[in-house]
Assembly symmetry: D2
Homo-oligomer: 346 residues x 4
C-alpha cells in the first residue's frame, strides 16, 4: 500500500523493528498513567546512564512540543530567545514559541546553519533596556537544519559566551544522534558536557514512532517543568509507550547504529551525484542531509520519480534526507534518477 523509500524527509520512514518490539512488550496489563510507572522509571535510568546523574528527562510528543516546552521553562514572556535565522523554532513551528510562551525570537544570521558568539553579541546591547525583549536563552540546533554540525569547541564557545552574559543554552537535538555519530562523541559530550542547560532530544526522525524527550541539566528548571509540559499539551497519558521506545533507542547503541547508517547513506548519495552536470552541492554533507542546487526545470520531473522538498524557492536549492533504513540500493536508484532527469534538462 505504501510507496517505496524516498529522500524527502527522515520522518517518511517507519519504526525500527526493535522499537516496535519494545512497544509490543510494553503492552502488558495496566499501569499508572502520566509517568508513574516502571517502564518510565527504567527509561529515566537509561537517560541518567547516557547523560549523567543530573539529567532529568521528561517525555513529550514531538519536536515542536519539546522545543516550545523547554524554551517556555527557561524564560518569561519579556525575554528573548536568540536563535539562528534558519532555526526550526524560527521558521517551521508556525509561531508556536511566540504564541505559547509569549516570548520573542531574536534571529541572528547563520552560515551553513550555524551561528557564532560574534553573531549573537549585537543582540546583547539590549540587555537592561526596558523597551526591548531581554535576551535570556540561546538555542542551537545540532545537527543544524542544513545537516552540518557544531564541533564541541563551537558549542562550548557559545555556551561560555551565553553563560558569561547570564543567558541559558538550549539545544534543539531533533537529530542529535546524527550529530554525535558524525563527531564520534557521546550524547553527553555534545550536550551537557559542552555547556547545554536544556536539550530537546529527538527520536522520531531516527526510528521511533512518536515521542521526544526534554532533558534538563539545570536543576532549577525541573520543579516547574511538569506544569509547563502539561500546559504545552505534551503530557501523554499512556506514558509507558513513549518511555519504552526511548529505552530501546538508548539500549545497545540503537540510536548510534541508526544514525551512522543514515549519515553514511547521505555521504554515499553526495558522492554519487557530485559530478552530475547542472547539480551543485551547497552545504558540507556532515550528517544525513544533502543540499543541492539543481535546474528549476528538473524539479518537477525528479519529484515525480521520488518526492522531495525545495528548500529555497528563489535559488532552487533542494534537500534530500536519508533515513535509518535507507540502503545503498535506494541511494543508487535515486542517484540514477537524478542523473537521468538532470541529463534530460540540459
Amino acid at each position: 500500500m505504501l510507496g517505496g523509500k524516498t529522500f524527502a524527509s527522515d520522518n517518511n520512514s517507519g519504526v525500527h523493528p526493535r522499537v516496535m518490539e519494545a512497544l509490543t512488550r510494553a503492552n502488558a496489563g495496566h499501569c499508572v498513567a502520566y509517568g508513574d510507572d516502571p517502564i518510565t522509571a527504567s527509561a529515566q535510568r537509561a537517560f541518567r546512564d547516557t547523560f549523567g546523574p543530573n539529567a532529568h528527562v521528561f517525555f513529550v510528543y514531538n519536536g515542536t512540543g519539546a522545543n516550545v516546552s523547554a524554551l517556555s521553562a527557561m524564560r518569561r514572556s519579556f525575554h528573548g530567545i536568540i536563535c539562528a535565522d534558519c532555526a526550526h523554532a524560527n521558521v517551521d513551528e508556525c509561531g508556536a514559541p511566540e504564541c505559547v510562551s509569549g516570548s520573542k525570537l531574536l534571529p541572528v544570521p547563520s552560515v551553513d546553519g550555524r551561528i557564532t558568539p560574534e553573531g549573537i553579541a549585537p543582540k546583547l546591547h539590549h540587555l537592561g533596556f526596558q523597551h526591548s525583549s531581554q535576551p535570556r536563552v540561546v538555542t542551537l540546533t545540532q545537527a543544524t537544519e542544513f545537516g552540518t554540525v557544531y564541533s564541541l569547541d563551537d558549542i562550548r564557545a557559545i555556551a561560555d559566551f551565553a553563560h558569561d552574559h547570564g543567558l541559558l543554552v538550549h539545544m534543539d537535538g531533533a537529530r542529535l544522534a546524527n550529530a554525535a555519530a558524525a563527531l564520534g562523541c557521546s550524547l553527553a559530550d555534545i550536550s551537557v558536557r559542552a555547556g547545554v542547560d536544556a536539550l530537546s532530544f529527538g527520536g522520531t526522525k531516527n526510528g521511533l514512532m512518536f515521542g521526544e524527550a526534554v532533558v534538563l541539566f539545570d536543576s532549577s528548571l525541573v520543579g516547574d517543568f511538569p506544569y509547563v509540559r502539561k500546559q504545552c499539551m505534551q503530557l501523554h497519558s499512556k506514558m509507558r509507550f513513549i518511555a519504552a521506545q526511548f529505552e530501546a533507542y538508548l539500549t545497545d547503541g540503537l540510536w548510534l547504529d541508526n544514525a551512522r547508517s543514515a549519515n553514511a547513506m547521505a555521504r554515499l548519495l553526495a558522492d554519487s551525484v557530485r559530478d552530475v552536470p547542472g547539480l551543485e552541492l551547497t552545504c558540507p554533507v556532515e550528517t544525513n542531509a544533502v543540499f543541492a542546487r539543481i535546474p528549476r526545470e528538473a524539479v518537477e520531473p525528479l519529484q515525480k520519480r521520488s518526492f522531495f522538498y525545495v528548500w529555497d524557492e528563489e535559488t532552487v536549492e533542494v534537500r534530500w534526507m536519508t533515513s535509518f533504513d535507507t540502503t545503498p540500493e535506494d541511494v543508487s536508484a535515486f542517484a540514477a534518477d537524478i542523473r537521468d532527469v538532470l541529463g534530460e534538462c540540459l
Copy 2:
C-alpha cells in the same frame, strides 16, 4: 513487570490487540509525513462514513491538545468559552486553553457534570459589553467528567440555544464512545446530528496507544485548522500511526464493543458495592465511571490494595473507572477489596 488491572483510570489500560496489529501493519516502507499518505486518507474516509460527508478530521496527540486546538479554531482571544465548572478544559488542563488561545473560560454550575441552557443564559448578558469577554463557544463533555451522559434532547437544546445566540458548540468527546454505547445511538447522532460544530473525539481511553481526533462539522473552521494544529504542537510527523489506530477503532465496531464492555463492568461494580455499609454512590452510573463517598480512613488502605484517585478531598468522593479490558473477575476482586476494607473501618 507491570501491575495488575486497576480502577484508577481508563488510561491505565494498554492498547487493544486489534489496534496493535494495525500499528504493526502500518509500519511498512516509507510514506509522506504530516498526513499526505494513503493510511491517513483511508482513515479520513472512515470518519466520513461514521460522521457524514461533512466531517473533516484532523488527528492530534491527546485530549488536551484536541480541546485546545478545536477551541482555538472557534474563537479569538477576546471571546469567552462557556463550560461546566467541572469540565476537563476548566480544571484538568493546567490552564492550557487560556495560555494558548488567550481566551477566558466562563464556567457555569453543573449537576452530575451536566449544564443546561438555563445555566448558560446569565453569561449572555455580557454580549455586546466591551468590558467583558464575549461568549462565543459552549463546550460540553460527553460523557461528562462524572460518567453521566447528555441525552440527545439535552444536546440539541443546548445547541439550539447556543446557535440562536450566535455561539458555536464544541463537544469534548474523550469518552464519546462510552456515551454513545450508553445511549444506544450512533456517533453521528450524538454529535453532528445533535448540533455540534466541532468535536474532540477520543480513543486513548478506549484502547488506543496515543492520538485523538478533532472532527470539524462547520466547514468555515476547516481552512485555518492546519495552522492552529501546528501552532498547538499537535501535528504528528508520522501521521499514519495515528490514522491506522483510528481506522481500526472505527472498523467492525471496535469502539462500540470496547465501550459497551467498559460500561457493563462499571454497572457491575456499582451493583456489587451498592449495599456496602459506609459506601454511598454519588452519581448515576451511566458509562464507565463509578463515583462513591467512602469513609476517609478507608481511602489509604484501599488504595494500597488497588490504586485510585480521590475526586473531592473535602467530601471524600472517590472515582473508579473501568476499561475496555476490565473483566468480571477484576470487578469481583475489587468489590471484595472494597467490602473488606470498609468493613474494617466501621
Copy 3:
C-alpha cells in the same frame, strides 16, 4: 456642553482642580521621557513617604493595566490567580489577564464582594497536581466591587493564609482611597502593613485625569517590572504627567478629602432613599457605592432622568456611585428622582 453630574460611575467625573494645576505646572520645558525625570523622582518620594521605604512605584495608564501588569509580574503562565467571582479582573477586563499573562483566574464565591480564607482553601488542593493551574497569587479588591471594605483583620487573615501556603497577595486598589477613608486608617496600614505584596493603586476614579500606580512591596518583583510594564503597553513616554498628578494626589491629603466626601455622599444617598417603597438596599454602604434592587419598570424612566448601570439583569440590582465632586444638592435631586419614578411605578 457636557451634562450635569450623574451617579453612573465615579469615572464620569472630571479632574480635581489641584490635579489640573499640577498638570499645568509640569508642562514646562523638556525632560527625559519614560520616568527618568525630576517630577517622577519627586512622586516616587511621595510614595515612599506614604507607603514606607520599601515601596517601589511604577506608573501605568489604567486599572486594567495596573492589575494585569502587577499580576503578570507575580506568576508564570501555569500559575493560577485566586480572585473573587465578582472581581474586576475576572469580569470586567475582557479576559486581559488570561490573554496577556496566560494565567488562569480561579474565582471563588464572594459575599458582598468579599472572599475569605475558607473560600480560598479548596483551590489549594490542586497544589502539586501537574494537571492543574498552580495557585500562586490571591488578589483582593479594596474597596470591593460592591463598595464594601475588608477590615485590616480580614486582609491580614487572608495574607497570612496565602503566605503560609507559598502564595503572594495582590490588592486591586482602584478605590483604595475610599476604603482607607472608610476604615480611618492610612494607605500603608491597609496594604503593605496588612501583608499585601503588590498593589494596584488607583487615582482616576478619585480626581485624576489618567494614570494608576503599581506599588511593589516585595522587592523580588521589582527588577523585572520595567519589562513587564512595557510589554503590557503601560509605559508612558511623557511620564511626568502621570507623576505630577499622583504627587498632587498624595499631597495635603487630597486623596483622603476626595474619598471622604464621596463616601459621605453615598451614605447620604442611601439614607435619603432607604425608605422609598419598592427600593431595597442590597449591600452595606461602606464607601462610595449604593447598590439597590428596584422595580424593573422603573429602570428606564429613571435612567432617562440620570443615567446609571444595571448591575444584575436577573435581579434588577442597580449601582449608584458618588464622586469626589458630588454635592448634597446632587444627592437631593437624584433622591427626589428616585422617589418620583418609583412612586409612579407602584
Copy 4:
C-alpha cells in the same frame, strides 16, 4: 525644575498650549465614560473630516498600544506580520506584539528604514505551508524609525502588492504628521488613499500629553475592535481627555504647524553640522530626525552637555530629534556644542 530643551527625543517635549487649553476646557462637569460622550463624538467627526467618511477612530494610550491593538485586530495567532527589521514593533515594544497577539513578526531587511515589495516577496513563499506562520499583515512605519518617508508611490506599491496576495496593510504613524508635512500631502493621501487598512496615528510626539488613535479604514475590523482595545488595556475611562486633545490637534492645522516646525529645525541642525570634521550624516534628513556617526570618544562629553541616544553601539551612530517647540536658537546652541566637542576629540 525641568531642564532645557534637548535633542534626545521628540517625546521629551511637553504639551502644546492649545492642547493644554483643550484639556482644561474639557474638564467641565460629568459625562459618560469610555467614549459615549459629546467630546469624543466631536473628535470622531474631526477624524472623518480628515480621513474620510469611512474612518473609524478608537483612542488608545500610546504608540505600542496602538500598534498592538491594531495588529491584533487584523490577524489570528498563526498569522505572521511582515515588518521592517528596524520597526518599532520589532525592536522597541519589548515583545508586546508577540506576547499579546501571539503572532510572529516576520522582519525583512530595510534601507534607511524603508522596505519594498521585493523585500517582502520571499516571505510569501510560506503561504499555504502548514508549518509556517501565515503572512497576513504588512506594517509600514511612516515616517520611518530613521526619519525618512515613503513616497505616496512607495506606499501604494506595497499596498497593492500586499492586497494582491491577500494581506492587509497597517501603518505605524507615530510620526505621520511629520511625514505628511515632508511630502506636502494630506493625512488621508498618505494613509487611506494610498491603500492603508489600519493606522496607528500618533500625537504624543508632536504636542499631546498622552493618547494615540487607531484609525480603521477596513470596516470589517471595526465590530470587534472595542473588545481588542479593552483586552489590550487601552480603553481609557475618562475618554474625553484624549478626544479633546485630538480635536485640538486636528483643528486649524495644529498637527501640520507643529510637524513643519520640527522638520525645519532638523534640516537646520543637519545643515549646521554637516561640515563638522569627524561627523557624518548617515541618513537623508526628511522629517525631524538627524542620524549621524560621530567619534566614540565624543559621545559622553556631548551627552553631558545635552543628552541623546546612541542608536547603534557598533557603529557609533547617534540620533538627534527635534520637537514642535525646538527653536533656531536651540539648534544653534546644540550645533555649537557638537562642533566644540568633536573639535576637542580630534
